[in-house]
């Protein structure tokens, strides 16, 4: 195995409110299935580095594992948004070289994403857009496919973001290397789970047609890729043996299930698809193990 110098990746995580961004990062920091993962791929390691990223891991332990849910990320001044550092070691998988990624990431409040297309909010959105362009990769997390949202939120938000990309890359050609991973979160949900294997075709093209068509016409496949992930995953004792019942609990208390879902059995916490988007965003290569 040849050692390579670590690749550094600078990723911004954006998406509407409650799409699961913070839970995703806390799950990555805690990496609840590390034991099974190491059995599968010796040398696989995810290490949160520094106080802020370590705090994410403790949130997973003290909140998610205890049958609570994380609080929403409130809109604040961009300067108060922490940077989360991770060191990610991925051994050779199916013929691909091993790699070490130094990930630096930021988790945006969902409200900002929702304000991107609103003309009267531009002064508030601007500092966030500027920050987006200091990164070389974006992860956009979506969770629902209401036709209304497809048309009136996701597509307009991407439209605005693409305008920014095309304007900025004229001045700064480096922006041509920007990669965007569009991720459908919470894909343990029954109607999504079978679609996870081909998220582009079975999730995005089918469920978010307006947004999908727009993105496909604007961005080349080198810059755009679709993923499915679930921080909670499905129930199962053994890795790879997926008992397809979702490992989540939705209380019957009137609340909207999207805003109020809980990890059901922490002992069987086996997230799905956490690493694939990061791997592609930082290398441009696709991991051929859909569980990762």
């Amino acid at each position: 195995m040849t050692r390579q110098t670590p690749k550094s990746a600078e990723i911004r995580i954006i998406g509407p409110r409650q799409s699961g961004k913070t839970t995703y990062l806390a799950t990555l920091a805690y990496f609840p299935h590390k034991k099974q993962m190491k059995q599968l791929y010796a040398g696989m390691e995810i290490t949160p580095v520094g106080e802020d990223a370590e705090r994410l891991g403790r949130m997973a332990e003290d909140i998610i594992m205890q049958g609570n849910k994380l609080a929403g990320t409130f809109k604040t001044n961009i300067d108060y948004l922490p940077f989360y550092f991770f060191r990610i070691k991925i051994p050779s998988i199916k013929g691909m070289p091993p790699i070490e990624i130094e990930l630096n990431t930021r988790d945006y409040p969902g409200k900002i994403f929702e304000e991107i297309p609103l003309p009267h909010k531009q002064s508030e959105v601007e500092p966030f857009i500027d920050d987006l362009f200091t990164a070389n990769a974006w992860m956009v997390m979506l969770t629902d496919w209401e036709p209304g949202r497809d048309k009136t939120l996701y597509k307009p938000a991407f439209k605005k973001l693409c305008e920014e990309i095309f304007n900025k890359e004229k001045i700064n050609p480096e922006i041509k290397n920007l990669r965007i991973a569009v991720v459908m979160s919470k894909c343990e949900r029954g109607e999504l789970w079978p679609c996870r294997l081909d998220p582009e075709e079975d999730l995005f093209r089918v469920r978010l047609p307006e947004t999908y068509d727009f993105l496909k016409t604007k961005l080349s496949p080198q810059r755009l890729k679709f993923f499915a992930c679930s921080s909670f995953g499905v129930l199962s004792d053994r890795i790879g043996d997926f008992d397809p019942r979702p490992n989540r609990y939705i209380p019957d208390d009137g609340s909207i299930s999207e805003f109020n879902a809980f990890l059901r059995i922490p002992e069987q916490w086996q997230p799905y698809g956490l690493i694939a988007p990061i791997y592609w965003l930082s290398t441009g290569r696709t991991l051929h193990d859909h569980r990762l």
């Binding site: 909140i63 049958g67 609080a71 209380p251």
Partner: protein, 237 residues
Amino acid sequence: MSVVVIGDRAVGKTSMVIALHDPGTKHVKVLTDLKKYYDPDTGEAAGTSRKEEETLLVEVKLPGGERQIQVRWIDTPGEAWEKSKEWQETKLAAWQGIQTEVSQSQGVLLLLPPQRITTEEELRRPDAWTNNLASWLQFFNQNCATVQHILISIHKADLFCDIQAEAQRWRYEQLKGLRWIEYNEYIRNTYFNKADEIIREYNRQHSTSLRFFITTIKNPSLLELPWIHLASYLAHK
């Protein structure tokens, strides 16, 4: 980081925090000296006449480790919430101060009286308890749009349930934690079922849903639960 304790007069707001300090609970301990709030001989709290603010140093034992957190505790006078609104009108500035404090806080803990029909007034109006909760929910709706944690506890649980049995059933242990969602569902279904409809209605319209508890100063295990719940969030700010 502030936590506001609110509730009608004599519902037990001050006593609750004092009990976390002295004799103290197993997993939550208020380290700041609170002697000025009570008579050390009888342990009785003096009625709160104006808004009191204290920065509490609180030690909590969470599954992920022990931590000390600072909580700004705001004790509100029960009179402020009297339904007559007399206090709110005569002491407008103080009332507005409380409203602002609530709306800017991280967490709100509302204490409710037990549901009992004992007085003649209550016999005449059997829905009084639910109506009272409904008006609190309206207050949250108006003032708590950005409050992340709204906890509602029926206090003085010793007056309406077998506190030993409940404490046994819902014991928090540092290593094992507690299945919060199960506790919450159980308390809501068992003790808040009369108000089920209004709670659902509230949850339908708000992204931060309500969390339910029963507490009493007579049982430290039950008493500490809302504070552990809050601490698990505040410790990671």
